[in-house]
């Protein structure tokens, strides 16, 4: 083969590969463009702040936004402490023994489980097993044993746990060993080393991981299909605590209530609403809101990571 042929093969191959790689940009643009184009028509102030009316063919999606925010908040409350502490144990205490390897294997496995299996687990274990047993223990009649925000949040927390553990572990191992050595040499106990030297440096990475997990949780649908979502629930999942003397009622999230959620709303509207063409604009609008939400979260995480990395370098 002559050099010229070889060179032209090289050029062709390179061009082909570059074109295929560029097609990803095309895919992203097409998808996001479609959503954006058809979704902005439906967005308005009342769309974002009003509940749906007229059998879901008009009105807004505020309860779905509220539900999404609530469920991810509950999820983070459950998953973050557990995940961070587990990662601290894994990186700082467990060393390289069999326990550490087992934990790592378990985390990797958890990350590979299909989301619908989490949904199965959530329904079968949390709602039916834990819930019904709680009902039996407290003598209530089907209070705990039905779909509720608590169980949905728990299911999402289990799904998101590997994300938090992995990003926290990465943040912890990113702290140079010399700092730990210096602290130990001054007579610090292991926890003093972790708290005084490692965590202050790693918390930005931990925060980034938390934000990414929120974004992931907001976008997942399968785990919450049967564990707490409702399609049409005009009231918000709130409970009111009466404050005795002042007579004021403080609204508090009611974890035993069902809730509306953005991704679930899209799903049901797109497949089961009785007139899908009429609701199509609302579907697009809801989709746009969801995309905007997850993207701003991801962007926040990236910006945070970059800004804190820059601050460390400057120091």
């Amino acid at each position: 083969m002559s050099t010229a042929t070889r060179r032209s093969k090289d050029a062709v191959a390179t061009a082909l590969i570059a074109a295929v790689a560029a097609s990803i940009l095309g895919i992203v643009l097409v998808i996001l463009g479609d959503i954006f184009w058809k979704g902005t028509k439906a967005i308005s102030w009342e769309f974002l702040t009003q509940p749906p009316v007229q059998g879901m063919t008009a009105g807004g999606i505020f309860p779905a936004i509220f539900g999404t925010v609530s469920i991810t908040l509950l999820m983070v409350l459950m998953a973050l402490p557990l995940g961070v502490l587990a990662a601290i144990y894994m990186v700082e205490y467990a060393g390289s023994g069999s326990v550490a390897r087992l934990i790592r294997a378990a985390v990797n496995n958890l990350a590979g489980v299909p989301s619908i299996v989490f949904g199965l687990f959530g329904l079968g274990f949390f709602v039916l097993f834990v819930g019904r047993n709680l009902d039996r223990l407290t003598g209530k009649d089907l209070f705990f044993g039905q779909p509720a925000m608590l169980w949905a949040a728990a299911t999402l927390a289990v799904l998101v746990l590997p994300v938090i553990i992995v990003s926290t572990a990465e943040a912890l191992t990113g702290v140079p060993r010399s700092y730990r050595e210096a602290a130990f040499a001054l007579g610090a106990t292991r926890w003093q080393v972790v708290r005084g030297v490692v965590l202050p440096q790693a918390w930005s990475g931990i925060l980034t991981g938390a934000i990414l997990s929120v974004s992931r949780g907001a976008g997942e649908t399968a785990p919450i299909l049967f564990t707490g979502c409702a399609y049409y629930l005009p009231r918000l999942p709130l409970a009111y605590l009466p404050v005795p003397l002042l007579g004021v009622r403080i609204p508090m999230l009611n974890p035993f209530d069902q809730f509306m959620e953005l991704s679930y709303h899209i799903f049901v509207m797109a497949t089961q609403s009785h007139d899908t063409t009429l609701t199509r604009p609302i579907q697009y609008g809801t989709t746009l809101v969801l995309v905007a939400l997850t993207f701003s979260l991801n962007l926040a995480a990236i910006v945070l990571r970059a800004r804190l990395a820059r601050r460390e370098v400057r120091e």
């Binding site: 700092y179 050595e181 210096a182 602290a183 007579g187 106990t189 460390e312 120091e315």
Partner: protein, 276 residues
Amino acid sequence: MSGSQTAARTAAQAGPRQAQAAAPASEDKISIRSLSFYYGSKRALEDVSLGILANRITSVIGPSGCGKSTFIKTINRIGEVSADVRIEGDVRLDGMSILGKEVDLVDLRRRVGMVFQKPNPFPKSIYDNVVFGPRLHGVRKKSALDEIAERSLVQAALWKEIKDRLHDSALALSGGQQQRLCIARVLAVDPEVILMDEPCSALDPSGTARIEETIVELKSEYTIIIVTHNMQQAARVSDRTAFLLEGKLVEYDDTERIFTNPSVSTTEDYITGRFG
């Protein structure tokens, strides 16, 4: 015959004066008897015995890989933190053994401080670096911490340069200043022994000179063991010198004698640069 083989031979032939000088005595600050150190199955130190005198500067010299870092990391048991190690033998501080599971490592490492090869101040302010140790050990009052900080920084010959910017980041200091900060950090926990693992190897000559000045000044209050690959530094600074080779102690004597009239020929070979 390779240099290391002669070393092994001649070390065994060391004369009675050598043996006496090396053997640990009861008034030693630190007495080490038959110390052997294993990383997994690899032996890093073999049957090392010597006595470190109080308020002296003892230097440990030898070619790279001879075990000098491992040696001083045994004295504050910092070598165990990140590896699977086995220690045999007897090491005593003020007559009490520091090996064994019952030893309070936290207290040991307060009494035996360490300055590392590459300056490693925490990414905090200068003040927070110096008072990190006292805070660990329970000192809370600001006035007490301020006192300790000033005293330590004065002793480390850094106070004048930074007393107006105590709360600036420690990472903004020069290499030499950072190393003096690390010394101040160690002094702040009121140690009895200070271990220094090649403290000047990452510094330029002027930084090195200031550190050496500081070390000599500190001798009156602390016992100092310094590992160095720079023989001139050992000759300049230390009172006693130990020469390690392939994990074994070849010779341990007054510095002046080691560098002018060593008893073991291997020592002379190393010092004159025949190998190493």
